[in-house]
């Protein structure tokens, strides 16, 4: 691998991050935090510029370099993103700052801060910006507007937004990335506008819009969406579903093909599983409380949607829900949103493919000579893709197991360890037990914060991009040109 070329691009990414850090300084001055913010931004910029200047300008990105750029680039970005939490003195520990930054960029939305309203506005905005940049992918953004990444753009794109390859909107990957980011920005602006018309001020509207479209979950209120009106919650629910949908479909719909959503098989699964989960949780709540009002329906639908789309906003403490409803939430945490969305998790498309494959295997038991084809949207799923999905399932389960084990070793109870590691990998945010929606992640130790940070990164980059970094062969021909 050509590490020098990789570092060149990472230098550019750090300068980007430094630029993004300038935005919160608008509020920093009034909060007496101007100096720390400028220091964080400048420090990152200088480091980035150094890497940029000291490495060759001619870059050629092969698949290996592409994966390394995304893997190492994300590590560099989340570390740089942690600096503001440290220098402004908001985060109690370095591990806590890293956790908050990773949680932001991976659109998890898990926080170490018990009282959100106590945080400076500059920090609140930075948390939302990190969500927004991480949602559609900061490197995809680079591919979209930085011509220098044009060469290996496809590799970068797929390493950061993996999943099952879907149709490109345009023959060129940079144009595709531009369209997706354009749709993303447009939807964010639409939601911010709606929030303004409802019950938010400009600051809250912008923050929540960025958080929602990124399926993040950071709020400017401790009570999260519970602090806002019922109408706001309904609007948020709608946009969470939108954010959890493949953005390629949104582009098609916006360009006039209104049937694009319904025609997509994965979208039908996604909406179908959402509706089933709504109904089951609503019934579970109704039975356990003996009440069936509109408020209960909203509570069930909002929180199910928040978990299914991997956003992680909350309007109620679902830690108090009956166990049946909580198990459904755990299932949704695992499954997550659609491929090609800003959401995380195992993804609807993979769940569907695995289930269809299982049905095919059962068919083969009944008919040993049957030629079974797993299909997606009327097309056969190629064996390589199927194997990739099955390996991904294994990785998901094993990683979740290891994460749970590590958190349990640190003294967390079973429900907390199980749900926290799952909520981190699937970029949900709140889990159950000690890390439920009424609580926060601040009480965990530094080791737990780092374990969860790693889980969040693995989940966001869908494992392979990070895991290849620990394989020696990735680093073969160090510094060479081959």
């Amino acid at each position: 691998m050509n590490l020098r070329e990789v570092l060149h691009v990472i230098g550019a990414l750090l300068m980007w991050t430094a630029g993004a850090m300038l935005l919160p300084t608008v509020y920093a001055a009034g909060e007496g935090l101007f100096v720390p913010w400028m220091a964080a931004s400048l420090g990152t910029a200088v480091l980035g510029l150094g890497l940029w200047r000291l490495t060759p300008r001619e870059i050629r990105i092969n698949p290996r370099e592409g994966v390394a750029i995304v893997g190492l680039g994300w590590i560099a970005i989340v570390l740089a993103g942690a600096v503001p939490f440290i220098v402004t003195g908001t985060a109690p520990t370095v591990a806590g700052a890293v956790f908050e930054s990773v949680s932001g960029f991976t659109t998890t939305g898990a926080t170490i801060f018990p009282i959100i309203e106590d945080l400076p506005r500059s920090i609140l905005l930075w948390r939302s910006i990190s969500h927004w940049l991480g949602g559609m992918g900061i490197i995809v953004l680079g591919v979209a507007i930085l011509p220098l990444l044009g060469m290996g753009g496809a590799q970068l794109f797929h390493a950061e937004a993996p999943g099952i390859p879907s149709d490109r909107l345009r023959p060129r990957i940079a144009s595709t990335a531009r369209l997706l980011w354009g749709v993303y920005a447009l939807l964010t602006a639409m939601l911010a506008g709606l929030y303004l018309l409802l019950d938010m001020d400009v600051f809250e509207a912008v923050n929540h819009a960025m958080s929602c479209l990124a399926t993040g979950g950071f709020s400017t209120r401790t009570a999260s969406m519970g602090a806002f009106s019922a109408v706001t919650q309904w609007v948020t629910m709608l946009f969470m579903i939108v954010a959890g949908t493949n953005f390629t479909l949104h582009y098609r719909v916006l360009s006039g093909r209104l049937g694009a959503w319904v025609r997509d098989e994965e979208w039908r699964w996604y909406v179908g599983s959402m509706a089933v989960a709504w109904a089951m949780v609503f019934v579970a709540l109704g039975v356990s409380r003996g009440g069936w009002g509109a408020d209960a329906a909203r509570e069930a639908m909002f929180n199910v949607t928040a978990v299914h789309t991997t956003t992680g906003f909350a309007t109620a403490d679902f830690g108090l829900w009956p166990a049946f409803a909580q198990v459904i939430l755990l299932g949704l945490m695992f499954m997550g949103a659609m491929g090609g969305s800003t959401g995380g998790g195992f993804k609807s498309v993979r769940t569907g493919v695995v289930l269809k494959h299982v049905a095919g295997e059962i068919r083969k038991v009944l008919h040993p000579r049957a030629v079974v084809v797993t299909k997606l949207g009327g097309r056969a799923v190629r064996p390589e893709v199927l194997h990739n999905v099955l390996a991904f399932l294994a990785l998901y389960v094993v990683t979740h197991g290891i994460g749970t084990l590590l958190l349990a070793a640190m003294g967390e109870d079973l429900v907390t360890a199980l749900s926290a590691s799952l909520a981190a990998m699937s970029s949900i945010g709140p889990g159950l037990g000690e890390v439920g929606p009424a609580s926060h992640y601040g009480n965990l130790g530094s080791a737990a914060h780092l374990v969860l940070s790693l889980l969040m990164l693995l989940g966001r980059l869908e494992f392979y991009t990070l895991l290849v970094l620990v394989f020696p062969s990735t680093w073969a021909s160090w510094g060479g040109t081959e």
Binding site: H367, R369, A370, V371, V373, K375, A380
Partner: protein, 448 residues
């Protein structure tokens, strides 16, 4: 009429043969000299060596004076380009054989006019449609439909214990006179006759019966079969015919199992056919057929490319207890054999293609023609013009020639399976069943 046939394969040969029989001048074009030699030795036709896509070759074959161009090679694209080459020729009807399902999947794919094609024929799909009709009528050996399905001409074997066995037609008519069922032909000991009132029906006779769509069940019962619905069908072979049939069965919501020997073809068709269970295996693998429940199947259709495998697997299926067995047979000589060893019905791509083409060849008052496997008889639908000598007469007065019989009269939406006193009026559509010796005389009764 001068006809140019491009393609001397199975379909081309057979169509040329039928056209010669209809007194047309036929020139056969093919790139393969050996095939041409065979055609020239067996049929009274002229041959031209060359590609139908070359205008020079077509001119050599007399395209300028031809009224009909039949492009029936087994390559769809060659057929289309052949018709395209000849699109400038005046007063020429062009027929292209196009089989690839991809062309038909989307209306935007194949616009015949753009290729200068007047008529598209798809013998493989015709065969699949015919097979579906056979499956629907459970016991029929042949099914030909007229007037959009309102008139059905069925070939039926008289089963042991059938109510009609050992009875004379005149007695049956007295008993079932109110039923619109007419026996138009009896095939016995290899000869086809148009029966008379005193003809006695025996077990094992092959009857051709004209009836209305609604009376098919009655006709089946009279020859000893119980009507039944088709729920589960097993198809063998990876042919285009097998694809079309499985596709149609899937549309009819029939539970379908498709057995294909070629691994890759099995994979491809499994991807195409959503609701069909595709198996990879040998069509003569008795254990596999039994494991997959061929015994309980309502239908078994053998559609591989090899007659021998089809006949063998059909026998296996019949022995295992499949209710109805339909066998694809290419070789003409095998057809009587297949019937003799107890197979229910035979279909042939050659015949399907010929039927599809001949329907468009006969002009004038002819609207539709059906031919039957293993017999030279034909059923022809005519439109009665004012010039017809029998217009306005009853059948008894008309004096239909011996060897022919009027099977049905269609007047608007009304269908009459006629008796002697029924009249033929101008504008009627008349279905006539005729033996070859009477064909010429019949056509004189129905001038354009």
């Amino acid at each position: 009429m001068h006809v140019v046939v491009v393609g001397a394969g199975e379909v081309g040969y057979h169509v040329a043969d039928r056209l010669v029989g209809l007194q047309h001048d036929v020139v056969v074009v093919d790139v393969e000299p050996r095939r041409l030699e065979y055609v020239a030795n067996h049929l009274d036709v002229a041959v031209v060596e060359g590609s139908g896509t070359s205008m020079a070759t077509l001119e050599e074959a007399g395209i300028q004076k031809a009224a009909l161009l039949l492009a029936v090679t087994n390559v769809d694209e060659v057929n289309l380009v052949t018709c395209m080459s000849a699109r400038e020729v005046e007063a020429l009807t062009t027929v292209a054989r196009v089989s690839n399902p991809t062309f038909y999947r989307d209306a935007r794919n194949l616009r015949p006019a753009a290729f200068g094609v007047d008529v598209l024929i798809n013998p493989e799909r015709e065969l699949a449609l015919e097979t579906v009709r056979l499956l629907k009528t459970t016991a029929a050996t042949d099914v030909a439909v007229f007037a959009g399905g309102a008139v059905q001409l069925l070939g039926l074997m008289v089963a042991p214990g059938a109510p009609v066995a050992g009875r004379r037609l005149v007695d049956l008519a007295a008993e079932h006179g109110d039923r619109p069922i007419l026996t138009v032909a009896v095939e016995r000991d290899g000869a086809t006759i148009v029966p008379r009132g005193d003809t006695e029906i025996r077990v094992g006779d092959h009857l051709f019966v004209a009836t209305k769509a609604g009376e098919v069940a009655t006709a089946l019962e009279l020859v000893g079969y119980q009507p039944a619905t088709v729920r589960r069908v097993m198809v063998t072979g990876g042919s285009t015919e097998a694809y079309y049939l499985s596709h149609l069965l899937q549309q009819h919501r029939v539970q379908t199992t498709l057995l294909i020997e070629d691994r890759q073809r099995a994979q491809d068709l499994a991807e195409e056919l959503d609701k069909v269970l595709v198996l990879h295996g040998d069509a003569t693998d008795v254990e596999l057929l039994e494991l997959e429940g061929v015994g309980g199947a309502d239908g078994f259709v053998a559609l591989t490319e090899h007659d021998e495998i089809n006949i063998l697997s059909s026998l296996v299926a019949k022995r295992a207890g499949a209710r109805q067995v339909i066998t694809l047979v290419n070789k003409r000589d095998y057809i009587p054999l297949a019937r003799h060893i107890g197979l229910d019905a035979a279909v042939s791509p050659r015949l399907s293609a010929a039927n599809a083409i001949l329907r468009h060849v006969r002009r004038g008052s002819v609207t539709r023609v059906a031919t039957f496997e293993g017999s030279d008889a034909e059923a022809i639908a005519f439109t009665v013009s004012p010039a017809s000598p029998i217009a306005g007469k009853s059948l008894a007065e008309a004096g239909i020639p011996a060897g022919a019989i009027v099977a049905a009269i269609v007047r608007g939406t009304e269908v009459v399976v006629p008796r002697g006193h029924d009249r033929i009026e101008v504008g009627d559509s008349v279905v006539v069943f005729t033996l070859p010796e009477a064909a010429q005389a019949v056509s004189e009764y129905f001038p354009a």
